[in-house]
Assembly symmetry: C2
Homo-oligomer: 331 residues x 2
């Protein structure tokens, strides 16, 4: 039997289990030039929420009644393809199905002897590339500068902070629990960590943690947390916008302070991006991340949930910040 | 007698004549190494409004009871300075006084045989440099792209649009009267001009004028006009923020749609700037503007008000859009 997860209906606000449908299909037989893939690790990511809306976004919408897709590590269970042989491990943007057929396009072989398979969804995968390229291409960190990261204990944020330290920045993380704040300082060597849930005046808390002001704000969350950081930026600040998890479930247009006067006063630049904007730089970025990982300069945590049937709940839990680092479902 | 204009009190909201004080002083005698300057043309600019607040901005605040400063073209009336001789014309950031002494720092000689003196406050002055450098360094125009300019009939906007045409863009201007809209098309060769005061649905009006979407939005105004343009931006749009005249007189924090989700979806970049951010490029920018002017590729209009005592009113009139092109007071 082959289990499949479909988008049952478009979520209104925060997603619920009722938005997903479990079904089953026969295990397909790969035609010539194709492989049969068995899913091993499934990545769940906040940006998938945008694809569940029927709105133009940077990636096409999921269709109701069709399987959802995300980053998946799979093993080749059967091969009629010249490049891939049975037993190979691959990474790809695949469907939420236990078994599926692929023509090999977009599949990348990964090596479990170099790094654990799940890491190819995180620090050596799209989230690591997002952190590295967003920070270096837009943030442009310089020694002695102050870098603030929101969603700091998440998959991207925890890597951003560590890269900031490698570049010689003072790094401040904003996160949603004391436990995560402690993790940022102990495991990821952040200089300061702020639990925004315990600060009634986050703007002042950021100012205290950043006595020289904020030169780079790597924004994963948006909303009032970002307002508090932006109130502390320096002249010529760089503001990569990687995510806006606080707004993904909004059903009305989110309102806030107009940014233009601030950007004008500070000669600051705010840039939204998606990792594929920098796809020509993926090979060099991957090599740099793999080297840092090998040298022990990068560390990572994963929140691994077991069981194909738990994929939707793991996805929903992202919006309550239940993950530390990369959220992954092990099949 | 030497007339002087002081900041009497900090304006609350829109400036009024009561915020300014006229006084007089003796005509000073220049000490050794100094010149006596007689003001000929005084530039009034929206950004001066920010300097009238007691708030940190990109330039220091004016002090109550002290003269206001802006760009001024003056003639050397007496010289004890090696570089400047009596009769020379100079441009500088000077005080609102008929006569003043200068040690020569920051003064630039200007030549009335090359271009009319007043043009050194506009198309060949700070506003021309602002237009050229903001558009080329941040907007990065490419042939075939669509450029939208707000405040399009103003000193900066009218130059931005013409440079956009030189770079091969389709240029759309937004302005506040049918007369100005006509000027943009007839004199400045804009492809389209929109009078925002007669459009109840500005977002749709921008969409109609920009069927291929907006690649560059050169923003002089902020507020709801900018909301309407931003709703039409393309992937990888560049958004130089040069001014926010619609917000300069606000007494509360202006609120609007949060921009991060839009910038994220479009991989767009919004950058505030002040012309001095690009000061190393002033010589090449000036030469380019002077060449285009000589070749007839650039045109300009000025609104010239006569009389020293009319400086404050000319400044106030900027916020009602009473100027076409550069607003200048001739002494």
């Amino acid at each position: 039997m082959n289990k499949v997860i479909l988008l049952k209906k478009r979520p209104a606000g925060k997603p619920t289990l009722a938005d997903f449908e479990f079904t089953s299909a026969a295990i397909p037989v790969p035609p010539s030039g194709h492989v049969l893939l068995k899913a091993l690790y499934v990545s769940v990511d906040p940006y998938l929420r945008g694809r569940m809306n029927d709105a133009k976004s940077y990636v096409p919408s999921f269709q109701v009644g069709q399987p959802i897709q995300s980053g998946i590590i799979a093993q080749v269970a059967d091969s009629k393809h010249a490049t891939f042989k049975k037993g190979d491990f691959v990474s790809g943007n695949l469907q939420w199905m236990q078994y599926q057929v692929s023509d090999g396009k977009g599949l990348i072989k990964v090596d479990d002897k170099v790094s654990p398979l799940s890491s190819y969804l995180g620090v050596l995968g799209m989230t690591g590339l997002t952190a590295y390229l967003g920070l270096t291409e837009i943030g442009i960190p310089k020694p002695g500068e102050t870098l603030v990261v929101s969603g700091a204990a998440g998959a991207v944020g925890s890597v951003v902070g560590q890269i900031g330290k490698i570049y010689g920045c003072t790094v401040v993380g904003i996160t949603g629990s004391d436990e995560k704040a402690e993790l940022l300082k102990s495991k990821f060597k952040f200089d300061h960590a702020i639990n925004y849930k315990t600060k009634h005046d986050l703007k002042s808390a950021v100012r205290s943690a950043c006595p020289n002001g904020v030169d780079i704000y790597f924004d994963n969350v948006g909303g009032e947390i970002s307002d508090a950081v932006l109130a502390n930026i320096n002249k010529h600040a760089r503001l990569p916008v990687c995510g806006a998890i606080s707004m993904y479930n909004e059903t009305k247009m989110p309102m806030g302070p107009r940014l233009q006067p601030l950007l004008l006063t500070k000669s600051a630049t705010m840039t939204g991006f998606i990792v594929s904007d920098f796809s020509t730089k993926f090979p060099e970025a991957f090599n740099q991340l793999a080297l840092w990982l090998k040298e022990g300069k990068l560390d990572y945590v994963e929140t691994i949930v077991e069981g194909f049937e738990n994929i939707p709940q793991a996805f929903i839990d992202l919006f309550d910040g239940k993950n530390q680092g990369k959220m992954i479902v092990k099949i």
